[in-house]
Symmetry: C2
Subunit: 417 residues, 2 copies
């Protein structure tokens, strides 16, 4: 409680900090630690040389608008380039169906502004992305968790939850899903489940907010592009608000993402964005557009897939070797995350301190849930550390885990006895 | 009304579009028009050569973090450079007292989130910046206008308004002011009035949100740096939330601005920013930081002041010559704006169509008011057009004005008769 609390709004007082950001800050204060915490792409994958050339070209001074305010909707040639990007994913869209956002986090925030009034319900996967939890929660939305099975979000539980919330006279704003290599579970929703979800949303008149930052990063040993086809690709009835980003494939420092949605929704998002930040970074949009125009991703995406696949293989190999008896997980078929289930006796929120003492960091499972759960889960991002770092990090993690189990065993026996 | 309206939140349905952005879009569709509408800096003032060098240096690849996610609070060396920038304005601040924002528009939006609940009152100058009106309005704040006299916001009216609102049991969130070369009036609040405002805010326990994007751009023929001393500089009691930006002095395309405020408020703003966009553009912050570190502004600020002063002189000269009988104004002593009072018979919202037909654009006065007023006012931004463009634009404006007066005269007589 500070002396300023009386000046804060109820919404301001209720603001919740991001658990990932907190863990990330912790990592930055420990430069020798191996961090599996933040979902940061590996800068080795950035197209440094091309970006230097592009910066030189766009700053040549021939177009003064490159450093000027830009349209709220986005840099028009970039918007005009998006239909081709989307078409590769099976999505048919016109230029007018998209709006640039300052990272997908702003996309989530704009959705919160446009769809959520205080007390409205947002249906989310259990577990789900913490950035979505904070964006929707800070708009004073009420988050209702829906179970996932091995195919993805459970339609039965989704329908039961919807009916329960509507019976309680609460307005359901939308259902939020991350079908491709979900954050935090790394899970890929099956094509069949996507079809069922879309059918359900149409039948129940619920909007789907589909967040797809990782779709392009499938691992070719266990997955295919076809399996990442967005729900939006089959959205004949305009049920889907689709968010995607170049933060994982070009670089996050640019803060260039976008939303593709039915035109009346995009128009509303644009007005919300006017008061949020007027426009996204103009030089950033130009640079990302030039990466697209020069077809840099054609060459870099296969390389990125292979790089992250190798890291995924490294983290699994190390976990099997060092801690096969203490950790369970499902092989990630793309993206950045391995969702680890630890020994029952581990409370990852408590265990983190010991892990930090051993020089390894992760994000505990609980913050990804909207109810008290996830006690013995952890999200391990294998994207940022090198393969050697992954090896070292998992070794440290295993040592810390064995210590924690030994340390917690007696007190449990006392409780039992 | 679209078929999606039922999916929108009340806040989403109530979102208001920015009048300036609308006028700006109009200008972009008419490439031959002279636009006095948007408050865009002149790209002639951007440090193109230095920025090209800086881009090359920071993208050299020696620091991979330049394209990575960054801390929500901002790039630490940039935050560490702000105290010196602030000290030049008389403000004593530690690194921890500031947070980077994605343009000052995000600063206004974060203030809205942290301070305003639906129905809370924000006290604003009459007229005031439309971007503030939309940011505070979209948070469902209730904007209460306060008169200005030739010294700035009227303390008597401010106090009367505060008492009225509190008597009506409404929570007053803060008072919002733009003391330096106000948007839209170009007005400079006197030092005495600033002191009175701060004393009043302390006495009445009201926070001041002080927005200062133009302070560095005073015109040396009629003004001095001392006159632009921010209210924040004398804020011993921590009453002032100070917003400033490099959009007008380096370039707006970077979207790099900041807020300096008491540390507990900055901590709250940081949490709000986490869910708003995670972090501002990282390359952008690096580039702006390098501009500061290399002391580019030391040379460019005097040049910018002279450039905008010359334009101010040009617009006044042209107005006097072409339309001295039809337009009144007060000489702007800095910034980008001349606030024009037209002949009583002109309704600038209606007149804009005729002006556009003559190839000249401005922003009508009404959107800058939070009550039905400003009918015969217009904001003329003299920052973007060249001196020759200003001459042509004012000529067109004068022709359109004479036509409008001739066209409206008979119908007024009919009404009177």
């Amino acid at each position: 409680m500070s002396t300023y609390d009386k000046h804060l709004s109820r919404a301001g007082l209720a603001l919740r900090e991001s658990a990932i950001r907190r863990a990330g800050d912790r990592g930055m204060r420990l430069p020798d630690a191996i961090s599996f915490a933040p979902g940061y792409p590996d800068p080795e994958g950035f197209a440094w040389e091309e970006l230097r050339e592009i910066a030189r070209d766009v700053l040549s001074g021939s177009d003064p608008a490159v450093l000027q305010y830009g349209p709220t909707r986005g840099y028009p040639p970039f918007l005009a380039a998006l239909p081709e990007v989307l078409a590769e994913r099976g999505i048919t869209a016109a230029d007018a169906d998209s709006i640039v956002t300052t990272g997908s986090q702003q996309g989530l925030d704009l959705c919160a502004r446009v769809f959520i009034d205080p007390g409205d319900v947002v249906l989310v996967e259990l577990p789900t992305y913490t950035g979505a939890i904070t964006a929707f929660g800070n708009a004073q939305g009420r988050l209702a968790g829906v179970e996932q099975d091995e195919q993805g979000i459970s339609i039965d539980d989704l329908d039961a939850t919807l009916r329960r919330e509507r019976q309680a006279n609460r307005r359901v704003a939308f259902v939020y899903v991350v079908p491709n290599f979900q954050n935090p579970t790394g899970m890929l929703m099956t094509r069949q489940r996507r079809a069922e979800l879309l059918e359900w949303a149409t039948r129940r008149d619920v909007l789907i907010v589909e967040d797809d930052p990782y779709g392009a990063l499938y691992f070719e040993d266990v997955s295919t592009a076809a399996e990442t086809r967005p729900i939006k690709a089959d959205d004949a009835k305009g049920r889907v608000v689709y968010l995607s980003s170049f933060s994982k494939t070009i670089a996050p420092g640019f803060r260039v993402a976008w939303i593709t949605a039915p035109a009346p929704i995009v128009a509303k998002l644009e007005i919300a964005k006017q008061s949020a930040d007027l426009c996204s970074g103009v030089l950033d949009q130009r640079m990302v557009f030039e990466i697209l125009r020069r077809r840099v991703l054609d060459a870099s995406l296969p390389r990125l897939r292979a790089m992250y696949q190798e890291k995924r293989t490294a983290v699994e190999r190390a976990l099997r070797r060092e801690a096969g008896d203490l950790v369970r997980w499902t092989t990630p078929s793309g993206g950045f995350f391995l969702w680890a289930t630890f020994h029952d006796r581990i409370d990852t929120g408590v265990f983190l301190d010991r892990a930090v003492a051993h020089g390894v960091i992760f994000v505990p499972g609980s913050p990804f849930y909207v109810e008290p759960r996830g006690r013995n889960y952890a999200r391990l991002s294998f994207a940022t550390p090198s393969v050697a770092g992954i090896e070292t990090g998992v070794r440290r993690l295993a040592t810390a885990l064995r210590e924690e189990i030994a340390a917690t065993a007696p007190s449990e026996r006392r409780v039992a006895g």
